[in-house]
Point group: C2
Chain length 288, copies 2
């Protein structure tokens, strides 16, 4: 069994599944077979939840680089990050073995487990989750070392994210909630059995490795000239082939995929990335 | 042909379809067969659009009762309402023949035309829209006289709303945008031909008449004890029979429909009504 595990909801205040799951388990307890875990149940950003917004001043889930933590900024989320880091870190020398941070997306990404490295623990975890929950998607974001990410979950020695959609911000869907609950239980069950042989899965599992972000086309004034094409919308993690429709320009024209290779788009039309004009992210298929 | 018609987008700043349609038509002109209309294209709440929020201080689409307009409150939306009323009203003695206000919803309501009275004009309009766009839903909210509503569109002599979903707040979906465009063109085409015999549709059309709002179940502390059941989710305007699942309690139990009659739920799990703990609205089927 692992040491202390922390399960977090409400890192973004309008992503309802994790908030509900944490509050429910706080009130009624976790499933019986997980009762022996050294488990912390944490709501990360109470102010953002109260206002039903992603964040009050800035994105809490980008405040956990060493640099950001050292800056001691005056924003609500910087203070929130400092407090979380004190309680469950400090980052880099944390006594928390694993931080599991729960998110929702407006993209149709189903139940996605995001891992940030492919060491023995993360690989075994991913294989186990995929084994007990075949509908799960494993997304690997290991383009830089674990500690260089600004994500909240990097405060722990290890950290992963649960990312489930499609769900509009501020809405709670039963189908999405049940997927979040199922994935959280799968991860925690793995933790309860870690180091025991029974949890070792030798067979590699299918995963996706993050590529790059793709922006909406903009005109000279920085205004969008196109929207996500209806053939791409909701098709997260489906193969996008060269020439396949990507954008519908407002003049009616279709803009096809300009890449030379197949790619696997995800975070398609995510509301929270709209301000940055990000239309989707690409990924390659891999095995871990 | 009618007198002045005003088409409005951005009454709520995170409902993207109307904003895009208004901006597109302002820049590139309306479809040729509508060019002879006396048409105003208006963005209602620039500040809310800039912040990508429904409203800054309070809901603009509730500021148009006579009482609210007389109060001269200091909120951004009250000032916005006063300005709109001066320019396109004043309510009760407006020279604007028709205000068409475009909205999006996170509920799966498809392309819904909301009319507030069933006089000759509105009935003919609804029948025409349903005739040229059979996928359209007609929703009648005539539980009180037209002028007693607080909606922005009641500033005109006549006023209707276009309400299209499902679309998350702050996201632009092509399928939703195309439905909004199609319904706006249908309404404006009707306006261009109004008073000509060719626009008269004698056959009654199916519609839904608003019933009441249904709240989420709450505990003693005002916390929700249930979410919308997955069998109800996304089934806007489908018949809900006595005993059919309505809510899933967080303890796992199903709460069935307690009404004695069939009803037609809509605005199911709409994000903007979540703060008010409204789960959905009921409706009866009718003919107009």
């Amino acid at each position: 069994m692992l040491g202390k595990v922390v399960l977090v909801g409400g890192t973004h205040g309008n992503e309802t599944s994790g908030i509900q799951l944490i509050n429910h388990w706080k009130q009624h307890g976790v499933p019986e077979h997980l009762a022996s875990l050294n488990l912390g149940l944490v709501i990360a950003n109470h102010s953002a939840i109260k206002d039903n917004v992603r964040f009050v001043d800035e994105d809490l889930n980008r405040q956990f680089t060493y640099q950001a933590l050292a800056e001691q900024k005056d924003t609500l989320e910087a203070k929130c990050a400092e407090q979380f880091n004190q309680e469950f870190g400090p980052k880099g020398s944390s006594t928390t073995e694993l931080v599991v941070d729960i998110h929702n997306t407006t993209s149709n990404m189903g139940a996605t487990l995001i891992i940030l490295e492919t060491d023995h623990f993360n690989t075994q975890l991913a294989r186990y989750v995929k084994h007990v929950m075949p509908e799960a998607i494993i997304l690997v974001e290991d383009e830089k070392p674990f500690e260089e990410h600004g994500y909240l979950c990097t405060v722990g020695k290890k950290g992963v994210m649960i990312e489930v959609g499609a769900q509009p911000q501020g809405v709670m869907r039963e189908d999405v909630y049940k997927l979040v609950e199922k994935m959280a239980i799968a991860i925690l069950t793995f933790c309860a059995h870690y180091n025991e042989n029974e949890s070792l899965v030798e067979t590699p599992c299918e995963a996706f490795r993050l590529g790059e972000t793709v922006s909406f086309p903009l005109d000279d004034k920085g205004e969008r000239t196109a929207m996500v094409h209806r053939d791409l919308q909701d098709n997260d993690f489906a193969p996008l082939l060269p020439g396949d429709p990507v954008f519908r320009a407002f003049n009616g024209e279709t803009i096809g995929w300009w890449g030379n290779e197949v790619t696997f788009p995800h975070f398609i039309n995510e509301a929270a990335y709209s301000k940055l004009h990000i239309a989707f992210a690409t990924a390659d298929k891999c095995e871990i």
